[in-house]
Symmetry: D2
Subunit: 335 residues, 4 copies
């Protein structure tokens, strides 16, 4: 069976998921829906993704730019087995999907309550098996789960504190700041801790966050009280066996988020993305039972492979999360 | 007695300390020494600070710019009761001060070992009384001590974890980056924890640090395990009574380091500095015995009043640290 | 006669003009009006500026913060001889001022058409004498007029091309970007050229503009075809005699907008502002009849002295623009 | 004949040229030389580029990282027909290449005098035919030549003024600033004008430059006095026919350098580069005989295809520059 995937919202997330879907053997992009006739709409057409209009507002413009429109969003919903929603947060399409009787998954901008099921490939794939609706948690929460979940399983976590140093805007988004400021998220602890618990309630975690003038990657400083004393190498070994974690070392010249991005470009990753969570091996350190580490999160792309796994689980294509993860990774070139 | 203060190094720190000294009743600037003929040398002359050349390399330039040179650094050392060293870190002037038999204090760029005595006005003024040499700890360490020391005294600290989100460069320093990156300090825990302990060994603290593309203020996200449960108001009350801490609130429109700086400019603080540690009242929160807070540190100026207190202690002008702190604050307009 | 000045809008511009008015001998601030209860409202009260509410929306908050409210904006209009409008652009208060029968002046965010009279102290003070309404042109246009008008008068300008490299946001404004981008203003030539001509129609000028990730000062690269060949020194001499132009030199260490700001802070200018236009003397160069120069514009404050002069002209306090400029400069410490 | 190309210096430029060479049918990478064992050295090995040590300083590290070293730089020089020098500017390898009797080409960081021949594919390919040494001019100069040379040929240029708004550092270079400043290049006119003339002496051009806090692309604001009046469409038509110029339009959502970069990533260009010069079609405007336009230059990659053409010319593989340009473009996916 080849899953028929429709993408509603063809921006930062939507365009990446479309490409990732088309890299898989067991699913295909049967259409992407978008509101406005930007160059991305033109490129979707060039890439051979059937294009649907998410609104009739810009129909003339599509025509003027020679973007062939296959139909309206509603037509796409009818043909699709599942819809990946990449629209701006709280855009409110759920009733429309429900009416069309199509499965749907959302991104981390939505609240847990929208679907009652928050997803991470490693942690709760089984819960997603056959589900009609779910949300893939945000880039930051996905990043925390990638490194914390295996520690939770294999060592035990007593408590975790993490500070998220967040990029102020995506690279393309020139309207948002700050240009020269550090902005603390004053509502503390921040929402990221509860968000981790929406997937794995057993992990005791509190987070704070600050926004800084950078466009490339969030950086987390994480301190974990483990349930028992282990040595640093043990933690490194656990993460070495965990998919979608990638170690970097200062001796390679990779000392900053900018250098992680350069590495990803040099590796010719699609769009220069890095779907893995970047962890600095030099700075993983256990003292007693206290673990310190930094990780960097590519906000635009770490959740893309989780979306692919979620599609497989929801559409019952694969029962075993490890197999799905492996298939996704192989197809996308993820370590 | 009026203490005769000489300043060696008239840059970011030196110029601020010179102005702060000249605001006090019990000390005076008898001269500033500088190597190069920048506009700051011209301004020193305009402000009436006798100007000494720290090197003979630029003598012609001083003349060309009509900057009257009173003599060489050595001449200044001879006249001074005490020297404030504001030169670049590890500049190595100690033997010269020793030879001249003059008391001297350094800034936080130096190691504790240089003087064996690291200073904070609240925490260890008594140790500095009559001392010949000491260093005032760095801006970040001073900031941590300002908020942690009163908690240590009045509630008790079990452990503290702090993440320093550091500005990449001073506002005037256009050569240093990063422009668009987050750079973790990979040597963890960072040196700030041990630096706090160089003043108050009893405080158990571990820190990490990241560098970001901002020029105005460091921001700390601090999590403290207190020795007992207290309510949030108790912490606020303690800090309300503590000098050199200033609360800000989001409802006033102050939500970022940039807005703290704007407040300081609007208040017509000298150079737009804020000598106080800025704490967001909205984001002080105790859950059980865990305290969360953010504080912002004006890297160029928070250590200035500590330098003034250190002069008073070292030169035995005032025995009581609270009195010195009050005198300094009154003269400088600090809350 | 002491002119009774009311300020409507107490933000970036309004607060500066209030302080500048209160520095003058022949005018006084009889009240400032503001909508929201930010710290700036508190500070206005502390500074002794009678505070008026520009809307009744936040009345409870003013009370809660102990900000004494003298009355509503309408009450202020009744008492004032003239209103300085510092509200956001196109806020639309003109009918209200007209109804109150009070003179009013606006800032450069408004179109020329609002008042039919665009003002610069050097260029057309006489036209403003006794006027009921005018706008002081924008910071960039004011900057261009400061350096171009004396050349127009004393040498003659054949044509001028200027590129405005604009700061992306004001220092306090952390919501606006870009963080890492250069954004050309695609509507070319940009509006700054016509804006110069709204004051001096004889100057032939075309401009383009780009927005960059900086918060401190605009920078102009200007190329002028003069009507005749002169040597570089002649241009320098003309600007030396012109008020509100300040030369900087690389040999002083001032090579960037950041260093100009540092100079202004060191000079203890109010808020660290620089009301003068900063021109790099090293980079003024005439080749044949072509003049090249760079100038930096402090977007928040260069127009403040022009506002003061405009008040004097409109209220017929002083007939001679040179006398008004001198009075303003002396009171404000402008060179 | 397949040209044997060696690359000395495997950083920002070297790694890109290596990949571009290996995309061509008539040349091959026979080795890359590098000093230090960064991840780029590892990647070179993974890509199958024989790796040579440019110095014996890090031999142990290469071994430790399992980077197979084929030999020293000198060994590479012996085998190569031509060396592309991508070392830091003024690294001074010319005598070594001369001694080895190998052809060599340098980048724009070098002075014209090093080789006496400055190269651009469109403008002076014939001069490079069979040459032993040349330099490909800098990214900015290449960008200016791409748009100006066809105007010079087909319309005639009376004079050109261009302001270069330069990125402060490359994306990976986190050590360099400025973070929050605009830095004018005070030596005016800047070196870019003479650099254009080093290739096409007939073009009368003066330039100025400012450095800004961005890492992605330079932006030029260019004003050209044409020899005759033409309409805007004529200029657009000329550039449409010119290789390596790419139009963007605001209506596509591409309004900034950041969006140009996003486009290049979406197009899956290698490393997200854009070898073409980006010109905003909306902002090309002729008034009388005065042409205004903006162009953006990808500093890391626009010179890569010129390097390929230079190799072909120097090694006499192809006599006709248009054919070489076409071959290079086809192989690299350039429009």
């Amino acid at each position: 069976m080849t899953v028929k995937v429709g993408i509603n919202g063809y921006g930062t997330v939507g365009k990446r998921i479309a490409d990732a879907v088309s890299q898989q053997d067991d699913m295909e992009v049967i259409g992407v829906a978008k509101r406005s006739p930007t160059y991305e709409a033109e490129m979707a057409a060039e890439k051979g993704y059937p294009f649907y209009a998410a609104s009739d507002k810009y129909m003339d413009d599509f025509e003027k730019k020679n973007i062939p429109v296959e139909g309206m969003l509603e037509d796409l919903l009818e043909k699709a087995d599942i819809i990946v929603d990449g629209t701006p947060k709280k855009a409110g399409y759920k009733p429309i999907y429900e009416k069309a009787g199509v499965k749907a998954l959302w991104q981390g901008g939505e609240d847990h309550e929208l679907t009652g099921l928050s997803f991470n490939s490693m942690a709760n794939y089984d819960e997603a098996y056959g589900a009609d609706y779910l949300r893939v948690v945000s880039c930051n929460t996905t990043g925390l789960l990638r490194t914390l979940y295996p520690l939770h399983q294999k060592v035990g976590i007593d408590n975790c504190k993490a500070v998220m140093v967040r990029r102020g805007a995506d690279p393309w988004d020139t309207s948002r700041g700050p240009i020269n400021s550090i902005d603390p998220v004053l509502n503390i602890p921040s929402h990221h801790g509860p968000d981790v618990k929406s997937v794995v309630p057993e992990i005791d975690i509190q987070t704070t966050a600050v926004k800084v003038p950078s466009t490339i990657m969030h950086l987390h400083s994480v301190i974990v009280e483990l349930e028992k004393e282990v040595d640093t190498q043990k933690v490194i070994d656990i993460w070495d066996e965990t998919p979608r974690i990638k170690f970097f070392e200062a001796s390679q010249g990779v000392k900053s988020t900018a250098m992680v991005m350069e590495w990803a470009k040099d590796r010719n990753n699609l769009r220069g993305d890095i779907n893995e969570i970047a962890v600095w091996k030099d700075a993983v350190k256990v003292e007693g039972s206290t673990l310190y580490y930094y990780q960097a999160i590519h906000q635009e792309s770490d959740i893309v492979p989780e979306n692919i796994d979620a599609i497989r689980a929801m559409c019952k294509v694969e029962k075993d999360n490890e197999k799905s993860i492996q298939m996704t990774n192989d197809a996308m070139g993820i370590e």
